[in-house]
Subunit: 463 residues, 3 copies
């Protein structure tokens, strides 16, 4: 009897142990993290060899439930050495491709046509789902860096890529058909097809088995390969340049800097192309922007009314602050991870919370719609943003001279909204002469300025 009980209670202890570990993991995972920032180590390497790599950022909604509406958006980073090619392939996702740095030839295939484009920094193009393309780094010295926003069509947030070339890690899609079908399709004997279009199959499998623990080497063989100078010249021949004048071509690349910045002063520049302006961005309802903040400058506090913006740090360092709401009780954060409790979230007791992060090249941050944000540059800082739900988005500033919604509040309401008097409020709002971008370390205000006087008088009043 006691023995029987023993058998039962042993697995039970294990069961309870697992439950304990699980709950422990959940609470530590979300322990005081800033869910809005994704550091470089949150990219997963999909492919890497001596010629370059492809990396995929973790799923936004896997990081936090607050990104539930981003579940069908993925961010990819592609990098390759000079004189290399990313071989022909396609994906079951729509892509928006932006060149971060370097010079490339992008070739896009259609059933009865082919287009090659010379693209470089800031050039942007939509590759519709299923489009076969290949990408050459045509520069002699500079690495090519490309950022892709991918919107999968088959399963939310899941990408599949299909290669025409086979390699030891992933076979060509042609090798996915049976001998039978291939012989009839190409009206050719299988041995011939295998020799000319497919990798040698049998050998490869043996190969792979023996190489299973040496993945690094085997990966060197394909996907991104070297090109000779002659090959690059041949591929360059008919390549067109991106349209510098129009931002609204149906299928040509367009450049983010082809139009003048929407906000610009000596502290920074803000370029943006919206779905209203560009037909390629229209169905996907996405804007693309490029922001340059000068060292020691600040992108003033503002919010995007409707767009959720995914921002990548292209170059430079800085600081990012975001204002969000958080449930006041301690369990607030844990709740986010718990699907069951989602519906029962306490909606009455939310607190304003400051989320800060240091920014380094390669970092990604997400700004939910309507959430106030400010960015400070500690060195020249270049950001690239994709805005989801872009149509009719409005950017409202909370400081600065122009587009500042606070200054639109009527006088009697200002007084009720803020503790100061109308005169004090209006005077304070006028202190910032800049719009959009400003000095992040304003000079010491001169002795005797009205503010200092106020301060002095308030100190005096304290006695």
């Amino acid at each position: 009897m006691a023995a029987t009980t023993m058998k039962a209670s042993f697995p039970l202890l294990m069961l309870l142990g697992i439950a304990f570990l699980a709950s422990f993991c959940v609470s530590s995972r979300s322990d005081q993290e800033n869910p809005f920032i994704f550091e470089s180590n949150q990219f997963q390497t999909l492919f890497e060899n001596e010629n370059g790599h492809i990396r995929l950022l973790q799923k936004f909604d896997q990081r936090s439930k607050i990104f539930e509406n981003l579940q069908n958006y993925r961010l990819l980073e592609y990098k390759s050495k000079p004189h290399t090619i990313f071989l022909p392939q396609y994906t079951d996702a729509d892509f928006i491709l932006v060149v971060l740095s370097g010079k490339a030839i992008l070739t896009v295939l259609k059933p009865n046509d082919r287009n090659s484009f010379n693209i470089e920094r800031g050039d942007t193009i939509k590759l519709p789902v299923g489009t076969i393309a290949y990408l050459v780094n045509r520069d002699d010295d500079e690495d090519l860096r490309v950022l892709d926003l991918a919107i999968p069509v088959n399963r939310p947030g899941q990408l599949q890529s299909f290669l025409l070339s086979g390699n030891q890690n992933q076979q060509s899609i042609l090798s996915g058909f049976s001998k039978n079908i291939l012989e009839a399709s190409f009206n050719t004997d299988y041995e011939e097809i295998e020799k000319i279009l497919l990798e040698e199959h049998e050998k490869e499998t043996q190969h792979r088995r023996s190489l299973r623990d040496k993945r690094q080497q085997s990966q060197e063989e394909a996907v991104i390969v070297k090109l000779s100078k002659g090959q690059i010249e041949e591929l360059s021949k008919n390549a067109k340049s991106s349209s510098k004048k129009s931002v609204s071509s149906e299928s040509k690349p367009f450049n983010l800097r082809s139009r003048k910045p929407i906000y610009s002063n000596k502290f920074g520049k803000f370029y943006e192309i919206t779905p209203e302006e560009n037909s390629q961005l229209q169905d996907l309802d996405i804007f693309v922007n490029s922001v340059e903040i000068k060292e020691g400058s600040l992108l003033l506090p503002h919010y995007n009314s409707r767009a959720i913006v995914i921002v990548t740090v292209k170059e430079g360092r800085g600081d990012f602050e975001l204002v969000a709401q958080r449930n006041e009780n301690q369990q607030g954060k844990r709740k986010e991870d718990d699907e069951e409790e989602k519906n029962e979230e306490d909606e009455t007791n939310k607190q304003v919370q400051n989320y800060k992060a240091k920014l380094s090249p390669g970092d990604v941050f997400v700004i939910p719609a309507s959430h106030p944000v400010a960015v400070k540059a500690s060195s020249n800082l270049h950001l690239l943003g994709f805005g989801i739900n872009a149509e009719n988005n409005q950017r409202n500033f909370l400081a600065g001279k122009e587009d500042n919604v606070i200054s639109q509040i009527q006088r009697p309401v200002k007084e009720l909204t803020f503790p100061g008097s109308v005169q004090e409020i209006d005077k304070l709002l006028e202190n910032q002469k800049q719009s959009y971008f400003a000095n992040a370390q304003p000079q010491q205000r001169e002795i005797g300025s009205p503010e200092t006087e106020n301060r002095l008088s308030s100190i005096l009043n304290a006695f």
Copy 2:
């Protein structure tokens, strides 16, 4: 040994006990309820003080899985006393705002502009996500009551509101930025900013801690505050009235009664504005309607082909009947709560079920698409409806003279569909001379009417 076993079995008993309680809760929660009606107590108070309140209806899909497609729609009710203002704020949701009663000034801010509107009963306006607005009850006597349909953009069914004014319950969004960022943004010392734009921070926190158990008092302080007569006059100055003629302005309020009713007779009136008619309603694909049923009258049985309608009782009392399908087996209702079993739902054995509810002011009911419904007024009954999936919706009546689909059935098919003869069916369908609305207690039909004769003959035939 026995002691070890004891340790194990004790938590086990607890575990089983919890499982038992959980299953008990599930079955009692769904115990013979009518899931289509939401009573006043299913609103949660988000804010309340002596000047008014804001209340949020529970999530539709939390109530029942049958409302899965309403997961991103929320209903809010706002009420305020005469001479008060709801201070500037915005939300991460698109809003459709309808005035149920009272007279207000609504001010909507844009980055470089401001619009104020005098609005009253029946006035409707879309506030796009992220729009800063404030709302004044300008009447001397009457409370202001506003109903909002909210469609959140960041997370399905979850709202966040952002206040410009700080109070002890929720801080101003400005206080969410660091001292550093605020000083640079406003080009002003922090003490100054704190004094003029923010609540006194340190003190407040202490304050809040000590007031944690006296929430009622602390909530009285802000969000909805009193206005002097002079302030109201100043705010009224440039306020425009809602457009009485056109229902299709891009951003001005429009009135539900600005056009003649789509159905009207001595028993009731039915006003409706559709997305085809009004550009503000177009992207959201929503119609808004207002229905008045006279005491003792009936809105005849009908269904909306495509729209799911969320109806609020504005005034009066009545009865609501809805026809839906239900699985015949006893476990049918419990299944609705069980995500796992959702996919295995038995689709072969569904029964027609009558769902009834008494209607009182403030109640909300949901009519799924294609579900037949009828509403009877025991006193003058005013309803306000928001229709989701409004475009191309068609309202088919099942009784009455006009728009009655049953009378469109061809003669040979009528006979096969119903037990009576074609003559009997046609005669019966002609008894109702009214369309859309009718008398809910029709007078006793006269002795010797054809129907009574038929009845007599059928009784005679039985012998």
Copy 3:
């Protein structure tokens, strides 16, 4: 004490036993299946009597997580004997209805109008959600077979149908209203309404109870009933024919073969109507196609860039091959069934996998977007396809003369992509003279052809 422990451990053993069984079921369910094919037995019979049946295919996403984006699409098959009618009813789903075989009269009711259409093989029409319709098999000999794609509006993937006629299995929607409401609505005594419009209620319930175990018989009574020759003639009177010329009517049926095939040769024909061409298909973003592959022929390997295609085998037999990716590790397939692990799916190590299936009449297969597929006919094979996400879909062939994307690859890239030389590759691609459809068993290639020579030389080289 030991007795107490016993009580606890007994249910524990059961609990663990259930957990064990559950995990066993999961692994066996997905054991080496081809998730892309749905055989006839995966249809569930919703209704069946001597006059015909209605069958519903299992939910796509219930079969496999890979069909998550098809969760709101259902496939229905309807079959009836000559001289029968499917009585008036409507559903809470948009329908695309296609006649597979037979001749019918479809009558569609509107509140103030009625339209009857003579429809036959290949005729297609959209029935918007909530549309009351009835369907007559007007032929003297042939069964009527209709395929419907349904897109529900109330709950993802769940259909409800509403009958105007009552029967012992499902009551008329009219009987779902109370006596009270019915009397007022029809301005008639309830006994009269019951006798003429409803089944005799009390009796029926008793009846049903006693018949609960004899469902087959009770189902024979209604929904699909016999019609006399005279009744069919009367119903035929004002029936219009489907539009043979235009494929773009707002509400009339159109025929898939009314336009010339998009691909055609002696091995097969491919008809397709896209949302760009037909306004009925536009909001639903669906294409409909009809493919005829001659006995012994092959639809060449190709993929749909954007559309997910649901294909039904109308007639004939054949073989289907699809190329998809699969995680390399053994647990790959089990993962698909496990919601929790979905987000953690390993995206680095996917392998190309061949999925084969034998096709018989009534089978359904699903081709995800961008997945290569080929179909071989062992007898004349007729397929009917519904394409989801149809707008801007592009069909790229991987073999054949026309629309073959592989032949668009530039020469230097060809060499890097495939093991053969450019000359070998180009020669091989020219062997297939056909486009789209080809011979599935090409004749033995002549001795001395270039391919055979190559083969000989490679054999010789081996020595």
